[in-house]
């Protein structure tokens, strides 16, 4: 399987990748993108099995990315990872069809339980 990690922070992308490995998902191919626009290009070129995206990013944020994915008729599961977690954001994520909503800081255990249904 292929996972696309989308975050404008290079350090956070490394942490997400590291935690994916710690959560037992290290056997999957992991790609990175630093904003929604770059992610969309990568998804259009070769759709991953899961998009793990930050919420707030320059160029195109996470919710705009999800909207663009749907507008293009692409069927790609996605999950949000964000530091700002409100009921409103969680509702918005659920309404958009997200398979998971992870709050920073996250652990290997929380990532494992949130993503196992998609990646196992």
């Amino acid at each position: 399987m292929k996972i696309l990690v989308v975050d404008d922070s290079g350090i956070m992308r490394k942490i997400v990748v590291r935690t994916l490995r710690q959560a037992g998902f290290g056997g999957h191919a992991i790609e990175e993108a630093e904003n929604g626009r770059e992610a969309l290009s990568k998804i259009e070129a070769d759709a991953p099995d899961l998009v793990l995206t930050d919420w707030n990013m320059p160029e195109m944020n996470g919710i705009e990315l999800v909207k663009a994915i749907k507008e293009k008729g692409l069927d790609v599961p996605f999950a949000f990872i964000t530091s700002e977690c409100t009921a409103e954001m969680r509702d918005q994520a659920n309404a958009s069809g997200a398979v998971a909503f992870l709050t920073k800081p996250f652990t290997a255990d929380t990532m494992q339980s949130a993503l196992a249904k998609v990646l196992e």
Partner: protein, 161 residues
């Protein structure tokens, strides 16, 4: 009407310990922290881009938080503390810590708040920053000790809204 949340010590602790991935002790300061001119100041704004809160951290603690997050050697944090300035890699890492600390302000029922920037010294503070520091609606003063990386002061002040 939603207001800016006043963060609590346990909320900061619950945010930092899993983030650091090691024992991290947060304890109440005996009074308002007195921070050096080299302290790092993270800014948080509301959805309408009004200044909502500031988080000020000793440069040594900012370096330690960044190094622990990015799994850099503790020596890199010590060098930054001695220099009184964060190198780019530690600034990036500390900025991510500051971003994640938005979680202590962004709770259900409160005004939505997000991190924007880090001022790298008191000299970089804006007039709005200084006004908020002089007359905050609330403040939290703690010391943070990260196993293997050292300790330092952290203060969060919030605006009245």
């Amino acid at each position: 009407m939603p207001v800016i949340h006043t963060p609590k010590l346990n909320e900061v602790a619950q945010q930092l310990e899993p983030l650091m991935g090691r024992a991290t002790k947060v304890t109440a300061a005996s009074g308002p922290n007195k921070l050096e001119a080299s302290c790092q100041t993270a800014r948080y704004v509301t959805r309408d881009d009004k200044l909502a809160a500031l988080c000020q951290v000793d440069v040594g603690l900012a370096a330690a938080l960044g190094a622990a997050l990015a799994l850099l050697p503790a020596g890199a944090a010590e060098d930054a503390a001695k220099a009184g300035k964060l190198p780019d890699n530690l600034l990036d890492a500390f900025s991510e810590v500051a971003n994640i600390l938005a979680g202590v302000l962004c709770v259900d029922g409160a005004l939505h708040v997000r991190w924007t920037t880090v001022a790298q010294s008191q000299a970089e503070l804006s007039a709005d920053d200084k006004a908020l520091l002089a007359k905050p609606a609330s403040r939290l003063d703690v010391t943070v000790e990260i196993e293997g990386f050292g300790a330092g002061k952290l203060s969060i002040v919030t605006a009245k809204r």
